[in-house]
């Protein structure tokens, strides 16, 4: 087993982790602000992939799909918040979770009705087909693009949260929504926007994952479990936690796949169990809220 192979596998792990980071980030931001865990997150990831595929074939360009699918599905997410989830604030914290679980049933079956139950191949955009010579080995161009794009999105999110007035409101709202209302901020609108953002990130994850996995109505269920594992390891509500844990899980999966392929699907759960035994609140979680 030579070093270059291990480095290439590490890069694969980072590409895999990048998609996990984007998906888990959507989950964790919504929880941090609204205190809602969206069980339909995996289904919305899947719908994002289908929307990207559909829009790409409609416009003839992958790039329109990549740009428009997260926006459209994000808007759909805002509709979900406005029509359904808004009614449940102030009720048991289990209720939004149960509702979004039922919703995921509806969404998955809806996609089956429209697009059929079979998987559909998601073509890689022509500009990104093939491999790039990195000096130590060849690496798929598309995966490098995924890593780069996720890095850009993370940077943009960080800047928006830390350096803008809106980001300030969002961060303050996560700390204490009541005080924000007293100060004259319409917290309902902030929550609406954040839920849309979270769902949009899930959809972006779906479009990015499309060319790397096959697109089928069931793809969301594995993604949901993965996103849960990442957020639990990182600490629910923690953005840094989602990034670190996402990369950690991605790299562990691809490294284990190299040495013991049959353990690859199991390793992330084992990782989560170990983290929970040592730090029940997750690596970057705050004690008291969830553990």
């Amino acid at each position: 087993m030579d070093l270059s192979l291990i480095i290439m596998q590490l890069l694969s792990g980072i590409a895999l982790g990048a998609v996990l980071v984007i998906t888990a980030l959507g989950l964790t931001i919504v929880f941090g602000m609204l205190g809602v865990v969206n069980f339909a997150h995996g289904a919305l990831f899947m719908i994002g992939a289908y929307a990207g595929l559909y829009l790409a074939s409609l416009t003839g360009s992958f790039w329109w799909g990549l740009l428009l699918a997260p926006i459209l599905i994000g808007a759909f997410g805002m509709l979900i918040e406005f029509v359904l989830i808004r009614r449940l604030y102030g009720r048991s914290i289990d209720d939004p979770l149960l509702l979004t679980f039922g919703l995921s049933y509806v969404l998955v079956e809806g996609v089956r009705i429209v697009f059929g139950s079979d998987g559909i191949p998601f073509p890689t955009p022509p500009q990104l087909i093939g491999v790039l010579d990195l000096g130590i080995g060849f690496f798929p161009r598309y995966r490098l693009f995924v890593i780069a794009l996720v890095a850009v999105v993370l940077l943009a999110l960080w800047l928006a949260l830390e350096k803008t007035r809106i980001g300030l409101i969002v961060r303050a709202g996560a700390r204490d929504p009541t005080i924000m209302q007293v100060l004259g901020v319409d917290i309902g609108r902030v929550w609406l926007a954040i839920f849309g953002l979270g769902v949009g990130l899930a959809a972006l994850g779906g479009v990015l994952a499309g060319p790397m996995r096959s697109v089928n109505p069931e793809m969301g269920s594995l993604v949901l479990a993965e996103a849960f594992v990442v957020t639990v390891i990182g600490g629910l509500g923690s953005i840094v936690g989602a990034v670190v844990a996402g990369l950690m899980v991605g790299i562990s999966i691809s490294m284990v796949a190299l040495f013991a392929p049959e353990m690859a699907t199991i390793v992330m759960f084992a990782l989560m169990a170990v983290v929970l035994l040592i730090r029940p609140q997750g690596l970057f979680g705050v004690r008291g809220r969830t553990a």
Partner: protein, 332 residues
């Protein structure tokens, strides 16, 4: 009813006639289940109501009475079924020994998952139980030499059983129903005993106010672990019943969709009511049966109905009914 330490646990209201009847909830439930095969359109449906009723009843102990929303109950349902099948098919163990063994092993599995998951609270608990149950699913998928992998577990048909020297043809649907009903009755008796015990009052106290229960001196963490194991044990018995009934164990039984179905059933019927799980299992399965007659996409309707229940009828069919005729909390 007094707690061993001397304190009063439940304030008993003056018993009315209705209350006195409901004192015998196990007996009443058994009577309803005994005539069920003649109320439903098919015997196969009745057997499924029985099996899922037991699984959901065990889950109700955890979600309804203790307030812990687990999304991983399929692990114990599946474990009961797989252990029964493996014990009979691979090791030639008599069927009743296999069932006892399967429940025991599933309870051990529940202990392991419980130790990890009961360290967390609130929404974390739901996510962690889902993830750990998915771990069980992938382990079963990988350990194909034991479990049959994707094809499911086969080759352990129980066609004839002897009861007290009496040979019963287990392939006959009516015989099968009543043999399995004996298991359901046992599970109901066990659950009723738990709920009537001081421990039953403790888990309800944890649901109502965890901090106060802790301040009263109860070991909340240990009680959660114990209830997690009891719940897993009862649900695994449902798994054993499924294995005996189907003679195969499909891999899907372990998937989190099955856990979700259990959650749906308990909510449709009514969490925190004794007979609610059976009502929930029956409504879900009848709904599935009826809708799939005219469309293969029954899940879209079931999902939508579930969403409506969460929004407008969170106590479920049975719970709302009990409320409407004014039956107190302590008597359900």
């Amino acid at each position: 009813m007094t707690h061993p330490s001397g304190g009063e646990v439940l304030a008993k209201p003056a018993p009315s006639g209705l209350d006195r009847i409901l004192d015998h909830r196990v007996l009443l439930s058994i009577v309803v289940l005994a005539i069920l095969p003649w109320l439903l359109p098919s015997k196969a449906l009745a057997v499924n109501v029985l099996i899922y009723g037991v699984v959901v009843m065990g889950y109700n102990l955890l979600f309804g009475y203790t307030g812990l929303l687990s999304f991983g109950q399929a692990a114990f349902f599946g474990a009961g079924a797989y252990f029964t099948g493996i014990a009979i098919g691979r090791y030639g163990v008599p069927w009743f020994v296999a069932v006892a063994l399967a429940v025991l092993l599933s309870t051990c599995l529940a202990a392991v998952i419980g130790i990890i998951s009961t360290r967390t609270r609130g929404i974390y608990f739901s996510m962690v139980t889902l993830a750990l149950a998915q771990l069980v699913y992938y382990v079963a998928l990988q350990a194909a030499s034991f479990t049959g992998g994707e094809n499911g577990l086969r080759g352990f048909t129980v066609d004839r059983i002897s009861l007290l020297g009496l040979q019963v043809n287990f392939l006959d649907p009516v015989n099968k129903y009543y043999v399995l009903m004996a298991f359901a009755a046992l599970a109901m008796w066990f659950q009723s005993r738990i709920l009537n015990s001081p421990f039953g009052a403790v888990i309800e106290a944890i649901r109502e106010n965890e901090q106060r229960a802790r301040a009263c001196g109860y070991d909340v963490e240990r009680s959660k672990l114990v209830v997690f194991m009891l719940s897993g044990a009862i649900s695994s018995l449902g798994g054993c019943m499924l294995a005996l009934h189907l003679s195969i164990v499909p891999l899907d039984i372990l998937h989190y969709q099955t856990s979700g179905m259990i959650v749906m059933m308990v909510l449709l019927g009514g969490a925190r009511s004794f007979f609610g799980p059976f009502v929930g299992a029956a409504s879900f399965l009848i709904l599935e049966d009826v809708i799939s007659l005219w469309t293969p996409h029954w899940q879209i309707f079931v999902g939508a109905i579930f969403v409506l229940f969460v929004l407008f009828l969170p106590k479920g069919i049975w719970g709302t009914l009990l409320d409407a005729i004014g039956i107190g909390k302590a008597r359900r």
